[in-house]
Structures are given as C-alpha cells and as structure tokens.
Homo-oligomer: 210 residues x 2
DNA sequence: CCTACCGATCGGTAGG
DNA sequence: CCTACCGATCGGTAGG
C-alpha cells in the first residue's frame, strides 16, 4: 500500500514521452520504431502500447506536451519584459536560450511542420496565437507612438523572428558550416547577432527616445 | 539505332531523382519507400534499384543534384548584384524567389540537416563555403568604408540570413498560422519583410551614402 | 527493365 | 507490465 516508492504509472508515461521526444526529434517519427523507444525507457514494446494505444497516439502526446511546455513558460518570459529598446534585447535573448535548453523540442517542432503541415498549423495556432496577437498589438502601438519603424509589417516581422529563433536552434550549427573555416562559431555569437538583427530592424532609432 | 526518341536511360535517372526529391522533401527519407518512388516514375522497384544500387545511394544522388543546382545558379544571382543599398534588396529578393521556385529542394535540405547533421555539414561546406567567403569579405569591406554597420558580425549575420531564407521557404507557411487570424499572409509580404529586416540591420544609414 | 522471391523489421494484438 | 505471435511492408537479390 506504499504510494511514494519506485516509479508510479504516471512516471512511466512521462519517461516514454521524454524518450519519444528525444528520438522523434533526432531521428524523425518514421525513423524511430516504438521498439527503440521501449528499449530507451527499459520496458517491452507491448508495455509501451498499454500506455499509448498506437504510435500515432504517442506522437500526438509528445507534441501536445511540447506545446503545453511552451505555452506555460514563454508568455511570462516575454510579455513581462518587452517594453522598450533595452529590455527587448534581454527578453529576446532569454527566449532563444529557453529554446536552446531543449534542442530536441525545437527539432521535433520543425519536423512536425514538415511532416504534417495542416495538423501542425492547426495545433500551433490553437496554443500560441493568443499571445502572438499581443506582440502584434505591441508593435502597432509602438508604431503609433513613433518608437517603432513605420515600415515594419507586424505580422510578417513576428513570423521572421520565429523562423530565426527556431531555425537557429534546430539547424544553426549546420548552416554555420557554410560560413566558417573552423566549422561553426559559438552559439553565443549567433544568438547575439540574431538579437541585434531583430532590434535594429524594429526600432526607429539606435538610441531609445525619451 | 535512333538516339533521340522516347526516354533514354539518362532521362529515367533524372526522373527518379526528381520524384525522389519531391517525396523525400514532403514525406521524409524514412517516410518514403522506394516502391512509392518507383510507382511515381512508372517503373518497378527492381528497375529503380538497377539505376541506384540502394535507397541510400538514391538519397545521396538527390542531395548531390540539389547542391549542384544551387552551386550553379546562386553565385551568379548574388555576386553580380550585391554592391550597394538598393541592389542588395533586389538581389536578396531574387535569391529568395529562386528557393521558392522549388519548395521541395528547401524541405529536403532542412530534413538532411536534421537527419544527418555531420554529413550535411560536410557536404554543404564543400559546395557552398567558397562563395559565402566572398559575402563575408564584402561585409568586412563595407565596414571599413563605413557603409555597413560596425557592430555586424559578418559570419553570424550570413548564417542568420540563410536561416531566414531557407526557413521561410520550408516552414514559413506553418509559422504564419501562429500570427494571422486568416491563417497566413501572402508569401510576398513575408519575403519583403525578410528583405527589409536584412537591409536595415546591415547598412549604416537608411539612405545610401554618396 | 521485368517476375518472383527473401529475411528482417514494422506496428499492433491475444491472452494472461 | 510480460511472452508469444501476426500480417504487412520494408530494402534488396536472383535470374533472366
């Protein structure tokens, strides 16, 4: 009747999702067998299928878990700080570093976008569009008050920032090979250049207005 | 003994690579069977394996073909025009539109970066690093003459531009869903915003110096 | 370029 | 959560 020792069934489910996210992210959905996931968790294949009725159900659970994670963490990280030229840099840096903490999640996200465009489209919209609307409004307000360049297209700007953030985390290391003799500069340099590009193409002047 | 009618063997190889690029790009390497590729071409599976000894050999041929295409077309498109503030925009627009012409190639490229980081790293470096070096040098020269912002990190800047270009083509439509109520603005708007972001974060002043 | 065929692995089920 | 098992499909080969 003890209820705290060892791994409860909820813990097993969590570990399955963890390993699935890692393997789907690095090798892709079709490139990962449920056998391989079961091996990584340390259980047999039919045991995994007791927790998730099908491989497809596991995929959906992994993506859902990923989106919930972002939905819970990102808005607080961003909305609390986006309120001026200086804070813009630090909050965008924090957001990129948040994604960098778990590269597998970023890779799985990109793979989902490639593998199932319509489904990914619908699900991301459902979870994330509420707070991207906030960002769009913030840009429009900045344009009215003159702190943000008038020729910024708010929606397209946010799309490009997201493409840069997720792209840098998912494939930045490989793209870096095209440019650098050594084979890749530090991720730090890429992140600070990303922030610089976003900042200088958004605000009206290099110094914040009074 | 006629040699121009119907499809020669070289033509069949070309069509196999075409269909493989399309299917690998949309469904992934592991998500595409050689049976499916043979069906799309209109031949039997063992016939396909006569032209390419293995599925892996076909993958390599498809990626090689893609890189050769870019290597042949891009340098002329870029180096001829990157020589000032105005031409920068038109040549970057042309480059993005070049990628947009064949979305499958962009998707296959991103998938290769995710599926086989080291191999993709090495092969892209081999084919493309010579002319990215030219771009880096161009930025450094602009910094010395004052037309380009001093705080630009040339290598990281080029990486971010490439991430934006390839990311916009491969997953721009899906990311757009996060932002727009309608479900995605026109690709045109995304491209012109991409160009604006790259331009305004690169040059020293909004008007080109004399 | 084809027919015929192979061993291995896939996702999933039966039954406990 | 396990053992035992299934039909389907996979990449690839033999032989012509």
């Amino acid at each position: 009747m003890n209820e705290e020792r060892q791994s409860g069934p909820a813990d097993v489910k969590r570990r399955i999702i963890e390993e699935a996210t890692r393997l789907f992210g690095t090798q892709g959905f079709d490139g990962t067998s449920i056998q391989a996931i079961a091996d990584a968790v340390g259980i047999r294949k039919p045991s995994l299928l007791y927790h998730f009725a099908s491989k497809e159900a596991l995929r959906e659970a992994a993506v859902e878990s990923l989106l919930i994670h972002w939905k819970n963490e990102l808005p607080g990280l961003l909305t609390a700080h986006i309120s001026g030229y200086d804070r813009f840099s630090s909050s965008l840096t924090a957001a990129v570093e948040f994604f960098l903490e778990d590269t597998n999640r970023a890779r799985l996200t990109v793979r989902e976008m490639l593998d199932r465009p319509e489904t990914a489209h619908a699900r991301m919209k459902e979870h994330l569009s509420p707070w991207t609307t906030l960002l769009t409004d913030y840009i429009r307000m900045g344009q009215e008050s003159g702190t943000i360049k008038a020729d910024v297209d708010p929606a397209s700007y946010i799309i490009q920032v997201m493409v840069m953030v997720i792209g840098t985390v998912a494939i930045g290391d490989i793209v870096a090979a095209l440019v650098l003799p050594g084979g890749g500069d530090s991720m730090e340099a890429k992140v600070s250049e990303l922030v610089r590009i976003c900042r200088e193409s958004l605000f009206s002047s290099p110094r914040k207005p009074a």
